[in-house]
Symmetry: C2
Subunit: 491 residues, 2 copies
């Protein structure tokens, strides 16, 4: 397979699909809309998981596991939730197959029909709150701070690897609290955890805000979001945290006795990020040569490639390389020495460029003589000859520098693509020619939001938490507005 | 809820169910046969996962993820596999629900029927080998060493928490090799990984062997197993590794070009352990007072309980306790200081006994004066007063000692319950009165195996790898036999 990619400027969407497949991150499977996450892609996801899991535990959460299948009737218990989730879903109706008597292979056994259909979880609020009823009696049982790592299924009609798949992997936090204030505090805390993870690990700047009513999670009173900007000027919702009020407690009858001896419904939150973050990671940093990975999430941070002609040269270089490998690992740097003699250096260079390995070391006979090596940075595509002395320090510092550089580059791009507009013509013009986030006044109604979406395909990504009070007029209706909201086309 | 358990001698099965629920490991959900794994139980599973994952990676395996749903037709491709797995399974037939026009709530939308039914994976050989066809062309692509952590569904009619559930969590390794010898070597290597994990981490001795033809995995040429013995004298199959020959390669047309340029089918293995190990862990070590956990898998290895009357005493004890907590954590010992003032020490003692925390420290005002503390071991139920000096070393050594003690105790029990018999009467007598493993001669036929099973409910657990050559006669038919095999009733 050719390693050459379509250029972003030619066809961004095609470039994305090619990079995901050619860098061995994921591919389509024989099941419509469901992907196979390949080892290299999964290794990045594992790094994301490990870090998020650490952050969740540090903030007092524990993991648990709830059933994959949810009885249909559970969905009907929370009215707005069913409207949002029970529609496009995978329905289990039977529990047995049998051999066809007419020799047509295996068929569904009609005698094995379930009394009540089971839905593959699109999200787990209902089945979890059905358990919480048994777990919560008193204020002493609160807060209940639980997270689950799981697969979910939503029957999406148009799918794209990582960005929108019928099955995806995610984590879903579900917490229960004695007071409204504490639940809101938890919602905000987890939004901050997500923002910190996105910025410090994915090197992806995000804008924190709250969703408008029409963009809220089905069943939530408030949805907080972090919004990132991709290189094609479209936004991507990277993580949401929901304040659910007492909706699920009421639907599943979860009450507790307060310190004062009063019986009340429990307050809830839920929050999640998914393998969609993999798509965001690819689209934030990668270039026309392939994947670019922030060092903190790169499965391989440094690769060493030997340049040799004779066996003696290979042996001498290998001895030096193995020495470096040991030294790097001691520093916690993940390194691979690619000693395959079946592949040429040029082929290897292209391979690791495509796969986004942050640093590449090439070492040849002359380097051995001179005590040097060639060091290539994936982010800047620059090369330099450096001394072998203190090489592990050089590498460790460079990895930090690359992590920072990627964040700053993405931040600069993002900041250059936040445009304030004051009329609908200007709005359409920016959307058409520049893209990115647009800060504009809006009259606060769902009708106007809907109209703008129908005309331009742009949606309100969020009402930024740091939005300043500012008198203005709605770009569509001219009605009064007290702050600007963030519009964009989005994934 | 009362913390008192049914005694093992009264009703072993009831004791098991109670311990799982009362120690907060798991509980039944609203979905038939599917369990909720509670945080404490999940924390133990996470420790198992972390260690197994480390061992898999150390032996060169990578993780990946394949779809949850498998097209029905995939199962028909490998004849014996479909017979074993496609029968009792969850079948997805529709992809949408809708509001009933007659106001009966949400119903299945008959217009959203899938063209081909999808099966929730009971195991993933078929969907994985469908991918491997695309991944493997040359000997250079081999070996392919992949593992997946996933949930699977098998529609079991009679379920028990952890031991047999309709949905369970597991890992499934699926490897592809250029030669038969290499595939067999991999099968044996992974059996050894499982045995090492069971013995060194779960403190559960196992017997390594191969299954008889009738007990083999559907689609395997050889199934290797590790068999453990529970305290009620019944065996539990703790992990299996399968040599699949070229069966799946042929079914999914996976060929490779060898070094010599010849085209051949790929050789395969698969291997898995599941949350069933949680049941094995409980039944190997626990007693009438509750769970007993080997330190290497205990989420909390040491708990500190303050004994006090006044606030001053509480504060002084807390200062000392916090100091110990820091010291223990530095040594990698997981510790909890239970400073809740809402619960009495006696209540806490019972709680941690029930939950199997290996060591309990109680510390009161007199201990502060004397520089001592009370140390209680969960495995032996003994207490002693020890000096606070070097306490973290004392604890670290004791944790090792407890780990060893649990293994040795289980080993002694297991060894005392391997009985050689030479007649069918003797066989039935031992099975009835003593239980455990029975080593007996068998004529090697599936007919005899089946007859013995029908008469006694005992099955051949395995042909032990270390079985000695020994002339003998089959206990049922009197026909010639060259080695003894291992019988037992089993979970």
């Amino acid at each position: 397979m050719s390693k050459k990619l379509t250029k972003r400027s030619e066809d961004y969407s095609k470039w994305y699909n090619e990079i995901v497949v050619k860098a061995d991150l994921a591919e389509n499977s024989g099941v419509r809309g469901m992907m196979v996450i390949k080892p290299y892609g999964y290794a990045i996801w594992e790094k994301m998981q490990a870090e998020l899991d650490r952050m969740f535990k540090e903030t007092g959460h524990e993991n648990a596991y709830f059933p994959l299948l949810i009885p249909k009737s559970y969905f009907s218990k929370e009215a707005s939730h069913v409207a949002g989730f029970a529609k496009e879903c995978a329905v289990v109706t039977h529990y047995r197959l049998k051999n066809d008597e007419n020799g047509k292979g295996i068929i569904v056994d009609e005698n094995a029909k379930l009394e009540e259909e089971l839905i593959i979880r699109p999200t787990s609020e209902t089945i979890i709150w059905d358990s919480y009823r048994k777990w919560i009696q008193s204020y002493r049982d609160l807060p209940l701070l639980i997270n689950q790592w799981a697969n979910v299924v939503r029957w999406e009609m148009r799918t794209r690897l990582f960005l929108r798949t019928a099955e995806f992997l995610w984590q879903e936090g579900h917490t229960a609290h004695a007071t409204k204030a504490e639940a809101i505090e938890e919602t905000e805390k987890m939004q901050n955890v997500y923002a910190t993870f996105a910025e410090n690990f994915m090197a992806m700047p995000v804008i924190k805000g709250v969703k408008t009513e029409s963009e809220r999670f089905s069943g939530a009173l408030e949805t907080y979001t972090i919004e990132a900007l991709m290189q094609d000027g479209k936004a991507l919702q990277a993580g949401t945290t929901h304040f659910l009020g007492q909706n699920f407690a009421k639907a599943f009858d979860v009450k507790f006795t307060s310190k004062e001896g009063k019986l009340d419904y429990v307050w809830a939150t839920s929050w999640g990020v998914s393998t969609r973050l993999m798509g965001a990671l690819v689209m934030t940093h990668s270039d026309d040569f392939g994947l670019v990975l922030p060092p903190k999430l790169a499965p391989i941070q440094v690769v060493i490639v030997p340049i040799y002609k004779t066996d003696e040269q290979f042996d001498a270089i290998s001895a030096k390389a193995e020495e470096m490998v040991k030294e790097f690992r001691k520093k916690g740097i993940s390194v691979k020495y690619d000693h395959r003699r079946t592949h040429k250096p040029g082929w290897k260079f292209a391979e690791y460029e495509l796969k986004g390995v942050p640093l590449r070391i090439a070492i040849g006979p002359r380097d051995l003589e001179n005590g040097t090596l060639e060091l290539a940075r994936r982010d800047t595509l620059t090369k330099e000859i450096v001394s072998q002395e203190n090489i592990s320090n050089t590498i460790a510092n460079l990895l930090d520098e690359i992590q920072d550089n990627l964040f700053n580059k993405a931040l600069e791009y993002r900041n250059n693509h936040i445009t304030e507009v004051n009329s609908f013509d200007e709005f359409k013009e920016v959307l058409e020619n520049k893209g990115g986030f647009i800060l504009a006044h809006w009259d606060g109604t769902a009708e106007t939001e809907e109209k703008i979406k129908n005309i331009t395909k742009a949606t309100i990504r969020c009402i930024p938490l740091d939005a300043k009070d500012e008198e203005g007029k709605c770009i569509l209706t001219g009605k009064k507005s007290s702050k600007r909201v963030l519009f964009s086309k989005a994934y």
